[in-house]
Symmetry: D2
Subunit: 358 residues, 4 copies
């Protein structure tokens, strides 16, 4: 193929970026998005296990796009970056983030290390001690539609989980407006298998998960406390959520069907206006017309969350359907959105692709 690698090298005005842990789907998606970002100068991508391997040999869609090879993470090189993304398993970022912050590097963690403000809760749900609980208070939960101003000033952003993004955006207007019983929320969420990551496992073999469907983690999923924290901060008191995730026989996409009880059964039109008003001006939230049902394919590969709100039979139960691409708005896309905000760029820079349909 003709042409040059797309990542510019050495332009001193660009943002110098490192990615720690780039062999998973989230890392691959960051590479895909940053490859077309006009202000991103991707300096390195690390992986201990794949050090020396070119990213495009692991992810053939990157052939002709970048010649970067994975490297062993080097603290000195990391410290020279303007921004480091962590696309690592839970528990890795917290080992390296204190030094990076001390060196003046900004950090966006796509794992869960800094999502929960309560260190004890984090340790209970994630099964390990937290390496830097003192940083939790200064980490900003990177949901731009809720915390844009804080993200602008943040040095450490905890990029939200995929389910929490879809669920929170769908319930946020109702909770903010105080319209529903916040102690009795239900989120029935379904995710494509890319959410399980790219690691050797029997449970995610196509022979195991193709042509089948199931709920999982009904007794409790790590995204439950995260969602309850987000919604609780909006409600300004603890909320009660029943959260059931399910595994879809497809690769990308999350749909969350949300059920809430209206305190005072209003009209469907009011809810529609509520949602449209709340998200007017937001580039990445699209409220569908009344009577709609969003499809996950309508957001395949893009950073948009599409939402429909219903009030079936005019009764007191409001039903919201919210869809995202779990790897984009649910991970790498939202991370780039946060980066754009943190560095004063147009929020949609490099995030203006059209979803791939069919």
């Amino acid at each position: 193929m003709g042409g040059q690698p797309s990542f510019d090298v050495g332009d001193c005005n660009m943002i110098e970026i490192g990615i720690v842990g780039g062999t998973g789907y989230t890392g691959a998606e960051l590479l895909r998005l940053l490859a077309r970002h006009p202000e991103a100068d991707l300096r390195f991508i690390t992986s201990r296990s794949e050090a020396g391997v070119r990213a495009c040999d692991l992810f053939p869609n990157l052939r002709g796009i970048t010649d970067l090879a994975f490297s062993v993470p080097d603290p000195k090189v990391l410290a020279d970056c303007d921004l480091v993304f962590f696309a690592t398993p839970n528990g890795t970022a917290m080992q390296m983030v204190p030094d990076l912050l001390a060196a003046g590097v900004k950090v966006i963690d796509l794992a869960a290390d800094f999502r929960l403000a309560d260190a004890a809760a984090w340790e209970r749900w994630y099964g390990m001690p937290h390496a830097c609980p003192d940083l939790l208070a200064s980490a900003v939960y990177g949901l731009p539609e809720l915390h844009r101003e804080r993200i602008k000033r943040a040095r450490l952003v905890a990029n939200p989980g995929c389910y929490p993004t879809a669920v929170s955006l769908g319930l946020l207007p109702l909770i903010e407006a105080g319209l529903v019983a916040s102690e009795r929320l239900i989120a029935d969420a379904k995710s494509g298998v890319s959410g399980a990551g790219r690691k050797a496992s029997v449970n995610a073999l196509m022979g195991e998960v193709g042509e089948s469907f199931k709920a999982y983690a009904i007794p409790g999923h790590r995204h439950l406390p995260e969602i309850e924290q987000v919604l609780g901060s909006i409600a300004q008191r603890p909320v009660g959520l029943t959260f059931v995730p399910h595994l879809l026989p497809m690769i990308r996409g999350i749909e969350a069907t949300l059920y809430a009880t209206l305190l005072d059964a209003g009209t469907g039109e009011d809810l529609q206006q509520l949602f449209e008003g709340r998200y007017s001006g937001e580039d990445f939230v699209d409220i569908l017309p009344p009577g709609s049902h969003p499809e996950t394919r309508s957001v395949r590969g893009v950073n948009t969350c599409r939402i429909a709100v219903h009030q079936p039979g005019g009764k007191d139960v409001v039903v919201v359907s919210s869809v995202i691409d779990n790897l984009v708005k649910g991970a790498a896309g939202q991370a780039v959105q946060n980066m754009n905000i943190m560095f004063g760029l147009a929020e949609s820079l490099a995030l203006d692709a059209v979803a791939l349909l069919p």
Copy 2:
């Protein structure tokens, strides 16, 4: 291939059977199941559009199994059967059933014509006048786990819808025991695309529904009044259900995740015992051990409903996950189960296959 067609012809002790409307997936599945039924003498299968075509030319899995060709329905021939299955679009069976019953033929309708006891409700949801509302009272709703004794004596069985089967079996023990707030039930159900039938349509093209997921019919689905009727008859008062169906990018299988509020939050073990006790002795309902999550593939091709019951966090919300194969327990398999009951045969006759996994 060697061997003889599997359908016996002319054995005077066998049940003489006709299928009206056999070109859809439900008809194909009836053919598959009856082909191995030792007491079934399938005499004919009708289709106006495909008259003269052999069933095995439409459904190549039937090659070597049956040489039957579709024929135009003939009232005289129908009247000579012991049993007629209707696998027709809604509104067809009701035109022919009165004459068949008058001729002494037993009928199992796999469509919706006789599912709702209230003719006015039927006409509202199905958008046409009912041709024989006087028969509705004598039709038996064919959910054997609820109405086995009535089915034994029935001459006209309304075979339940697919969603209603999965949802009703999952909620039945809770409603019967009076443990949950029956005015505030939620059923979040997901179905494979075979539930949409086998007719030319853009909406069910693989290009439209593959690798995507969505809710549909949130404002109201025809199975809502059917489920409310079943559950209401158990509760002996009207129930309130929010029912949201979804379309899965796969072919066979329904999973329903059911949410109910305990009137008095009990223990998980009690619920487990309740479900196991309710369905002990049932051949086609399998209560999984505590902490389980049933997969739709575990019932692929078989008449079993597998159910798990949870009480997340020990709170007052009970979560039930219920799976069936929509074409078997949700349609043709349950119809054969009803036939076995109506004719005094072993209930599991011809229904003892092992699910195809993977």
Copy 3:
């Protein structure tokens, strides 16, 4: 969503474009690609059946991207365009193209009307008389890697079929170099279901084509004479091809495995160099390293053709595996590539996305 529709309106320096027949997958893909084309001013998209409907109501990925609605084709409006794409069924473009060319409009036909130079052959394979056989000689077959110079000057481009693109690019270097027995070629090709289009049909239902695989059209497929024409023009004598297409249980992607007999068994390295040399400088053909196997997902959504060449066991059979996205390099992407060439733009303009993987 914030922001303005992406299609610029009324910039007098931009290329004014119309799309005739925009309700299929090819039309949708043209919309997706042109939406991000900086020189394209899409004026209208026609559909008789969907006139008045907004494109984004049919294709929800276009919400927030374009507000264009389908319109009834109007010859006068068409005649004001710089360029008209036909994304219509076979036999439609040939009715309208003569008038458009007379009005000075350039045309790219994504259907088959102008692909075969021999009108009699066209009529035999397509089963209808040709409306303007006199135009066939001046139509340029739009495979840029073969006919770039002619495309630059073309007023009417016949955009290649999907299979012919994958097969021709894979065999071209071997035929050009005269290395293989051109009377004994085999192309075993496999396509995702989007190749069958977006029209109501039982045969493309997910229930019919999901989780299954088959060959089709073994006795003869319309793309056979097209491929034989392309390869014959390279070989400068008739070639003999056995072409067997197959239907894949997925949406996008074509893989063609090609078998040819070397006239004089050379070494694998020579073939690798031959392919790399032939396509050096080509933006949209990527020759993989020796020993590779291209995956269709590596080109999902992009205009690239990836090719690997093998000589198993060092014997005299050369095996080529060639993959494209049937809707991009096999249809709309190649059409945009041809447009860029015809209008003197950078050939990769609006075609530089990164493939969506996973």
Copy 4:
């Protein structure tokens, strides 16, 4: 669920059976088939890694069918069986088979240990020394349609590979009749992912293989020498085959499209008669009518191989399309067929299910 486990225990006339290595898809499929075999008394199923785990906890389709738990293989217990199936990785069976044969136990190996008659070739392709090369001569290659009489008398059957079954059955009549150039055969084969087994691996994750398609092992696949051996034994001289396997984004099914050059181009009707004649009387080979294209779904879950033969354009290339379920006729089903033959039972015993379609 009611009822008793289906496996009879202790009936002294039944065949006492052990399965070594039952945690893969082949082992699971053997369990599924033997569960309904009236003459099979399954005594144990071994797995070192899963010892103590019930099979139905790994494969939930077996709930209510068998309560057998995996056990550590015990030579003494093995030696008491009438028949032992090996569903182990390559290289395991050859360690245990000599002792079993010495103890009078019959063996069917579903792995590759005894498929190649040439120990040196085996060691080259499988990368390890053979533990009992002296047994290779007495092992019978278990393709019943070719070796039925030898299988009847066999004590050790090498169950054929999945690709070799589909390819050999498709080419066998042409080779036997000496109609085609046997030094120039091509097999373009495609398999569902269950062929890759059920072991933790990145390469078979749904995120890696879903919605994508590729060729693999073009330089050489272990099934190549196996097929060449089978066809060579028919041709009574070495054959030349180009064999290219591909990975399908689905679970079950193999389709092989086979290309051969007629030595003397005959008529299509003759080839049809040739195939029908060769397989008349065979329960598990179905020759489709002229002009047909077999679908893998038509054999899902059953032991049938469906074949269509074509002569496109009446030229000298014959094209055969052959489909099987790789886990049934390509593995466990053929093994049960071989067992039935070895023990003098009806060949189709427990193999008479109807394929699951859709």
